[in-house]
Amino acid sequence: MERVKILGICCNWSPFACYNAAGMTGKKMPSNFRLIRVMCIGRINQALILKAFEFGADGVILLECKDEDCRYGPGPEVGHENVKRVRRILHLLGIKQERLVECTFGAHDKEELVRALWKFAGDIKAMGPVTITNGQRSEGLRR
């Protein structure tokens, strides 16, 4: 079976602290997982999530702080709203909505984070690659 690609978009604060701690303690992560670290999930808009799929991701997981923990205020709420809308667009495109998930973590939830990643990796593996094959490979020079 073709290998699936998973992208994690990770808030710099609680979730990244968990990810860091998990790495420090040598927890094994899915090998087909790539992480993008952003200052806050509120920074992510619908376009960036859609682009991930356009550029070949088979699943996208947003790793967010808990609503009340956001360092900036509305970050996770913005995340929830974006996920809600992008999921509906994915549905229109015939992409299973389960390919986009969001999870919230406190600063000490490293076990939960690793478990969430493995579960997501398993789910996406079961779903297989997406039907999107014709997106753009890079923003700049095409040939």
Partner: protein, 379 residues
């Protein structure tokens, strides 16, 4: 290319620049200078490249040009050329989300769920040789939920009109974007892929005629698709054209609509294909409705500020504000337009909090107004 678009005919009179909505709002952009540079100063590549991506493609310069320079097509071909050589440029509004889903739609194995919005208020057929082209409306309504854009209503009302004319159109379950925005932003590769896939799905479904209500889709299906597809043999009909023909046959009239309205002409519908008199004819058929034209109207109408979701910036906003001020100055309380994109861009500006509702206005599509008012003659 310079010869093809009649660029050598340029007299450098500057009417293009003087009428360019981008220039009028203060942007450092000049179609005249671009033409000049392309002809005699081709080494200034940086300037040319920049300018080519700045244009809104509204077609005002071509309209005003006394020498018949086809500036729109020049921009289109230059973008295609530059995109192939140097990659896609130009600032994509909304971080390119719209272009992103349009490109994704060109995947061959795509199975969309785009018809969930169909309800009992309209009658559609599950097959047939007359199809209606929905366009990106289901996508827009989700993406622009934040500004409460409702373009699916235009689609529903279009189908209601067709139902009224005893036509039950077939809706393609896997119709793709017409590719207008990809073409005009230089992504010819994916645009052509979309064209071919759409054509194949029409053919596979046995469609012979496509009815379109969106001016941009009509512009693409009617003008550019035949260019891409050899042996293109589908009939592409603009809904408003069809309606005009049917109305001439008689037996239908409109209920009175006692409001003072004004009209925003979409560039694709009045300058690229000349339907400005058709639009006015249809508007004139509704009794008691008073149409007050804006300062700039018909073929000289001001752009809605953006095209192809590229280059939306502070100047675009200024164009939109200027346009809405013109609309308000007519004293009308309803702005009618005929393009979903005009509606999206205008709605976005109207909601600007800093304007404190000073440019607030109700916006409706012409199709919706017609669908609400039409009735059988005497009935």
């Amino acid at each position: 290319m310079i010869v093809d678009m009649a660029l050598y005919q340029c007299l450098e009179c500057g009417k293009c620049t003087a009428s360019c909505p981008r220039r009028l709002t203060g942007k450092e952009y000049s179609p005249r200078l671009l033409a000049h540079k392309v002809i005699v100063e081709r080494e200034d590549e940086a300037f040319i490249e920049n300018a080519v991506w700045e244009c809104l493609t509204c077609g005002m310069c071509r309209e005003r040009c006394p020498s018949g320079v086809d500036f729109n097509r020049f921009i289109l071909e230059m973008r295609t050329l530059l995109a192939e050589k140097k990659g896609l440029k130009g600032y994509r509004a909304h971080d390119g989300a719209l272009h992103s889903w349009m490109r994704m739609m060109s995947s061959p194995d795509l199975m969309q769920n785009r018809l969930d919005w169909v309800d009992d208020s309209i009658q559609v057929a599950s097959s047939g040789d007359v199809a209606f082209f929905t366009g990106c409306a289901p996508y827009f309504d989700i993406f622009f939920a934040g500004i409460e854009v409702d373009t699916l209503t235009i689609v529903r009302d279009s189908i209601r009109l067709l139902n009224f004319l005893d036509i039950k159109p077939f809706l393609l379950p896997n119709e793709r974007c017409c590719g207008h925005d990809l073409l005009w932003t230089g992504d010819t590769e994916n645009f052509e892929a979309l064209c071919r896939q759409n054509y194949r799905s029409f053919k596979d479904a046995g469609v012979r005629e496509i009815i379109v209500s969106c001016p941009e889709c009509f512009h693409i299906l009617g003008e550019h698709m035949p260019r891409i597809i050899p042996g293109f043999d589908l009939k592409v009909t603009l809904l408003l054209d069809l309606l005009q023909r049917e109305l001439h046959k008689g037996g239908m009239a409109f209920r009175p609509f006692s409001r003072k309205v004004t009209f925003q002409d979409p560039c694709r519908l009045v300058r690229m294909i000349d339907r400005s008199s058709l639009l006015r004819e249809l508007l004139g058929l509704i009794p008691e409705m008073k149409l007050v034209e804006m300062e700039n109207s018909g073929r000289g109408a001001l752009c809605c500020g953006n095209c192809g979701f590229i280059n939306c910036d502070a100047y675009s906003k200024q164009i939109q504000v200027a346009r809405l001020k013109e609309a308000r100055a007519t004293g009308a309380d309803l702005l009618i337009t005929a393009c979903p994109k005009c509606m999206i861009h205008m709605t976005c500006t109207i909601r600007d909090k800093l304007r404190h509702g000073k440019i607030k206005m109700e916006i409706r599509d012409l199709v919706s107004v017609l669908a609400d008012q039409i009735e059988l003659f005497g009935g």
